[in-house]
Symmetry: C2
Subunit: 370 residues, 2 copies
Amino acid sequence: MNGAPYRKELDTPCLVVDLDRLEQNIAEMAEYARSRGLALRPHFKTHKTIEIAQLQRQYGAIGFTCAKLGEVEALVEAGVLDDILVAYQVVGEQKIARLLRLLERARITVAVDSVAVAEPLSRAVAALGKRLDVVIEVDTGLRRAGVQPGEPVLRLAHELVQMPGLRLRGLMTHEGHAGRAPTTEEMEQLARAAGEALVSSAALLRRHGVSVDIVSVGSTPAAFATTRVEGLTEMRPGTYVFYDAAAFRFGRIGPERVALRVLTTVISRPSPDRAVIDAGSKTLTSDPPPPGRTGYGYVVDYPMATIARLSEEHGVVELPPGVDGPVVGERLEIIPNHVCPVVNLQDELFAIRNGEVVATWRVAARGRVR
Amino acid sequence: MNGAPYRKELDTPCLVVDLDRLEQNIAEMAEYARSRGLALRPHFKTHKTIEIAQLQRQYGAIGFTCAKLGEVEALVEAGVLDDILVAYQVVGEQKIARLLRLLERARITVAVDSVAVAEPLSRAVAALGKRLDVVIEVDTGLRRAGVQPGEPVLRLAHELVQMPGLRLRGLMTHEGHAGRAPTTEEMEQLARAAGEALVSSAALLRRHGVSVDIVSVGSTPAAFATTRVEGLTEMRPGTYVFYDAAAFRFGRIGPERVALRVLTTVISRPSPDRAVIDAGSKTLTSDPPPPGRTGYGYVVDYPMATIARLSEEHGVVELPPGVDGPVVGERLEIIPNHVCPVVNLQDELFAIRNGEVVATWRVAARGRVR
């Protein structure tokens, strides 16, 4: 693809999305979910782009996961109204007011992990004579938000079913800690343990007469491991649409599967062992490499090179001795360490097929930070 | 300020700018530049906001520094036309075409660090019978772009003065490496060495008959050290308008001087030693703390707390034993590690005076990534 027209035509830095790879990634995950009998509810935060959401929908996604109400608003404005899970605590009067407005148009479920979060939601919807679907966020090892599995989940469930206006639909967890494990074996162990903790919490609730329709896990790196556990109903992977350098570490994904690249230009060759590109932390982000890798991204055109340091608008690429590096003006493609915050820095994605730009997609929820 | 109205009224996460502190910071640097007889050409990349640029101008800034042509375009669209330095290599036909358009309206100087960068610029402006002012970017220790001081600068200068359409105005460096030194003493040593390398390169050029009007340094952390060197003409600090947690490390700046804070909400209190806020790496960025500090920002309301981990939309705040932490819904203000990429993630800044929101400023050059 080194001579592909888009590499010369586009100004840099910019994000290019290979449509064939994108569709392959979306199709594969959809097929996997189907094969496991799981609902697929992809996380919108990765791409924030309506055109990609529509493609996921065509391949059978039952709805979407969002972190921010701003992401939900972007979906609803585009007419995507059905079955959106806000996998995030909705806290504060401004956000509750926005949620109520969204409920008038769309089917929305929100996560709760405490009475302190649930009570204001209950009061607000009950005052309007409305109903809000909720799931309990369970901490299966990530140590972020969420209640502990087992008895604490049951205690919160008992509180929730008493609260006017709320309807408890089930449980969710984000097993992101598994994806950070240093080996595939450890990742699979952590993922399985997370899935089992969630399923056994659901069983505990059912034994106590609480109905549980949704048992939802979500994380791309652990997706194929967590979902081997029986008793789950839903998966919520995000980065799988594009993949990134973090996805290399469990061996299943290589650069040829990655649908999104950062197109950059070499702006300086100050020494034989150093090239400077026009993508720094304001493009690639400072997100560190996954265990086992070094540098701030994978240089597709020079895999032996390392993006050793970033300033805001400069990437310093170190070249090993004997490598004839790129010349000033040469275009390089970079696979970022973590694709989600990279997309979040751009207003558009350039969609590529057969080396040509065939569409420019707006990152619709970029800047919807609240 | 804990009970200030804006803390309840604004939805989170958002960026609030205290106007009194902002003006104090701008006034202090302007006064310092005047006292040293230096032109002040602040870097626009920190705030990307026209209202702040205008304030800097009122306090005597002679013009602005930009990294990206998109930043220049934002300034020019707002009528800021005079004396903009692009402290960056302008490479590629798309960018050269944009630069030529900008030259029709504004006074612009660009950095060059090689014949490979300068020649296409020379060809393009000469073909139109125009003239482009350039400065040589010198590497005084940062090991990013730039030519080495002394003879390499002279060699490039001799090439540049032969190139049609180009007018060499002088030399610039970014002594960012000094600001990363672990101690104040080392910072001052590196800064002084950088300033001296630049001044002696300028002297070498003059001895060989090359006129040098601009001898320009730039970096907030090292600003007061580099500029003690005699023979400089200009300084280009950036972050001083706001300051950030990185600025604490040389003792001159404390939290009370920082004009920008990230307003956040506590969304979960899963355990006594942990609070989760609604600002993650998509708000605070993954930029690491400076030497001697830990975590992803300084929690103004709980200085003993550590923002230990970030996901994209979650910040995990660890609280020491015995500290009664914040409750769900409580607002917290965070001073980010590095303010520039944090501003770059937002569409607006909320300007605060006496605890009230008095203006909403658009981050005009946000998204001008090229």
